[in-house]
């Protein structure tokens, strides 16, 4: 397979998500027309987008929003309204309202079922995204300590939105142990949560942290008994202090 094909195929997901710029999109569409493999990938990825569209927390708009939306339709349909009544379909609104009320209830129940469980799963990822967009975002790079000189990690912390933590090259956990992430304030270290790295020693996690803690002077990772501890007791594996102005 050609290098150009591979490069273009890497844009298939972006195309389906609608995030290519105009030039990239034209280029990809031209390629799509003659590449069955990429066309198949695009077709197979489209259903995923439908899931993303509905997998958000479901919120009913205010009644005022309904009045506003429907208020705008009346003038725009004014001309045809007279036409409609002349044709003797005045009865339609009532019949339609009955039919629609039944249909809407079934639809609402189905959508509700579909999203309720997804919401819980997505809250974590949405919170992580919101940390990245936080106005009070602080970045803290952590360095490996004597027990794990190759380990490194980055923490992105927002007082209001929590902590996104990503680590690499952590040594495998001994049996009965777990890594614990701490936001260290001038008063005391505050536990952010536990971290279990994957086989490569990497791990990414999102933690809610208490909003009322003092300004963090450091973020640290220690090795602790499984289940975690209220205050650090074990070796420090990673330590970092906030980067000014980030």
């Amino acid at each position: 397979m050609s290098a150009l094909h591979d490069e273009l195929k890497a844009n298939a997901a972006g195309y389906v998500l609608g995030i290519l710029d105009a030039g990239e999109r034209r280029e990809f569409e031209a390629h799509l027309a003659e590449c069955g493999e990429c066309a198949a990938e695009v077709a197979s990825l489209r259903p995923v987008i439908g899931v993303l569209a509905t997998a958000v927390p479901q919120v009913t708009p205010r009644a005022e929003a309904r009045a506003r939306v429907l208020g705008q339709v009346i003038p725009s349909l004014g001309e045809s309204r007279e036409f409609a009544s002349q044709r003797g379909i005045r009865w339609l609104p009532l019949a339609a309202a009955v039919a629609v009320a039944a249909g809407a209830a079934i639809y609402a129940a189905r959508v509700h079922q579909q999203v309720v469980d997804l919401q819980a799963q997505l809250v974590q990822a949405q919170s992580a995204t919101s940390v990245l967009a936080a106005p009070d975002l602080a970045r803290i790079d952590l360095q490996g300590q004597i027990v794990a000189p190759d380990a490194r990690a980055r923490a992105l912390w927002s007082r209001t939105r929590g902590l996104v933590f990503s680590a690499a090259n952590l040594p495998p956990l001994p049996a009965g142990k777990v890594y614990q992430v701490w936001v260290v304030t001038e008063q005391a270290p505050v536990s952010a949560g536990l971290l279990v790295p994957d086989v490569s020693g990497g791990g990414t996690a999102y933690y809610m942290t208490p909003q009322d803690i003092g300004p963090p002077v450091a973020v640290a990772v220690t090795l602790e008994p499984a289940g975690g501890v209220p205050a650090p007791t074990g070796d420090r594996y990673l330590v970092g202090t906030p980067t000014p102005g980030v």
Binding site: G18, V42, R46, P47, G50, V59, A96
Partner: protein
């Protein structure tokens, strides 16, 4: 008739009556779809007042275009959600202070989003299918989920996501692709 197909038939009936001047069908269309449409808008723009503005724009566009709606384009629910996403992201983009993006014709690229029309089959999921999708979402590495979310809900380009995550462009493309492929496989497994 399958529930999704029945729902689509009712939607098409709504649009037909709307096009012939029946105002009750505007309310009907709104009542059937306002909640999921508003929820997606709110997720993207993050502000209730702005979300209501966009909600109004989306339904105004739907009412205007009802007469031209071609059923072969796919489910009405997906059409409304696609307009909701593209208008919400337009709103986000105009909020961002990036002159070069505002000046380019990409500003309205989202209006078309040719690739982004969901399939008919995905507009309604059964409970079992939902659980499978849910497990797949939960199983995605967080960094993949975040990259997909920045693309889908924030409308960021590959390059913008790479800057935000401080990762190479190629890595970001790979993360997004792998994440979507995993979700796709879960959908396939659920025969969605």
């Amino acid at each position: 008739m399958q529930p999704a197909a029945q729902s689509q038939a009712e939607d098409l009936d709504c649009l037909r009556r709307l096009a012939s001047g029946d105002q009750a069908s505007a309310a009907a269309l709104y009542d059937r779809h306002a909640r999921p449409v508003y929820s997606l808008i709110l997720r993207i723009v993050g502000d209730e007042g702005e979300a209501e503005d966009v909600l109004q724009e989306v339904f105004a566009q739907a009412f205007r275009q009802a007469i031209r709606y071609d059923a072969s384009r796919g489910p009405v629910a997906a059409w409304l959600l696609m307009m909701a996403r593209s208008r919400s992201i337009d709103r986000l983009r105009s909020r961002r202070t990036r002159p070069e993006a505002q000046a380019s014709d990409d500003q309205h690229a989202m209006d078309e989003m040719p690739g982004a029309m969901p399939d008919a089959a995905t507009s309604m999921l059964s409970e079992e299918q939902t659980r499978i999708v849910q497990r797949a979402l939960g199983a995605l590495p967080l960094i993949q989920r975040v990259a997909i979310e920045l693309a889908y809900y924030d409308g960021l380009s590959h390059r913008e996501i790479a800057e935000r995550l401080e990762e190479p462009l190629g890595t970001v493309k790979t993360r997004i692709r792998l994440g979507l492929l995993k979700l796709r496989d879960a959908l396939t497994e659920a025969r969605i």
